[in-house]
Symmetry: C2
Subunit: 198 residues, 2 copies
């Protein structure tokens, strides 16, 4: 999505260690007008899919999911992260490892809000190694829900998460896929995406 790529080029900050900061418009300050354009693009890419629920994970997926939910006219469920042991029979629980924060989290969704009738679109802001997404996929499996697709704002194409998801045959739509970046020059190179419309 050209609009997002241009915004990343303009306002994204490349840091050593392949860190891309987009906190001025995505995950600390949120540009809601941009989120609306992203929502429209996902709606176009997932046209015809019988999505009845959007699933995301706290915290930075929530804003994107809320705005996208307007476009899809469905509710959002956000998975909660916890570091405490939670063996509640009323919840789906799985563990994920966060490389960003260097620790394990439990990811929790109440059984009340996800079941075998649900056709889920999973949304998140970032995809790198895929740990968070694989956790959400595991939770949809526990629930017996159908995953209609996954929408990501920024994918780090040089990490393995995207490949792991696509190998499962899931439609994964990342609006910007970073192929490489250079902390010295600040330059970001994106993967060319054919089905582009925006």
């Amino acid at each position: 999505m050209k609009l997002l790529e241009e915004r990343i080029r303009r306002d994204g900050i490349v840091r050593p260690g392949n860190v891309l900061k987009v906190d001025s418009f995505i995950n600390h300050q949120m540009d809601i007008a941009l989120f609306e354009e992203m929502a429209k693009e996902w709606k176009r890419r997932f046209a015809g899919k019988p999505v009845n629920k959007i699933l995301t994970i706290e915290a930075s997926g929530i804003g994107i999911a809320a705005i996208a939910a307007r476009e899809f006219q469905v509710p959002v469920v956000f998975a909660k992260k916890s570091q405490s042991i939670n063996l509640d029979a009323d919840n789906y629980v799985t563990k994920i490892h966060s490389f960003t924060h260097g620790r394990e989290y439990e990811v929790i969704v109440s059984k009340k809000f996800l079941g075998s009738d649900d056709h889920v679109l999973i949304l998140d802001d970032f995809l790198a190694n895929g740990c968070a997404l694989l956790g959400l996929l595991e939770i949809t499996q526990m629930a017996g829900a159908t995953v209609e697709g996954i929408g990501i704002a920024v994918e780090k194409g040089f990490q393995e998460g995207g490949r792991l998801i696509r190998e499962q045959g899931i439609q994964l739509e990342s609006l910007a896929i970073v192929e490489s970046m250079d902390a010295q020059t600040g330059k970001v190179r994106f993967r060319c995406q054919e089905k582009e419309n925006a």
Copy 2:
């Protein structure tokens, strides 16, 4: 706001110890159509205020703030919660005590996204003892920003947070104020609000 009060009566769950669960439509599953009506009501109640930014706190404030931001046509900044010590010179940091989780958090906002030119509307899902809000107010003070008002979905009117905020002369607009609730009967009683329109 009648719509929200009716929804709480229908789908809220009262638990012993004055716990009100609204996780089926506000803070785990999110009813975005309801959030849009709440956003319109805040827009009406804060009409004429020169709001240029919405400030909230992760996680459950984010969805409400994102939808309200469409109505106000402004960006959102969400404060981050952390348990790690963070003495970054680039951030405003304060400590809050969470009674819900029984521990202390640091609340963090980057100095890049809040400053003395900002006219802030603070939004959150719940107000009880007011710890989270007082933390956000402290951060706006550090930034020299002007607080134009505070919007809350559900205020527990029998706890002191609302009084503490109103005593500071800040316009606080809670869309539903619970006066009392009964875990045995499941009944919730709301404070009568005169300026009601919805």
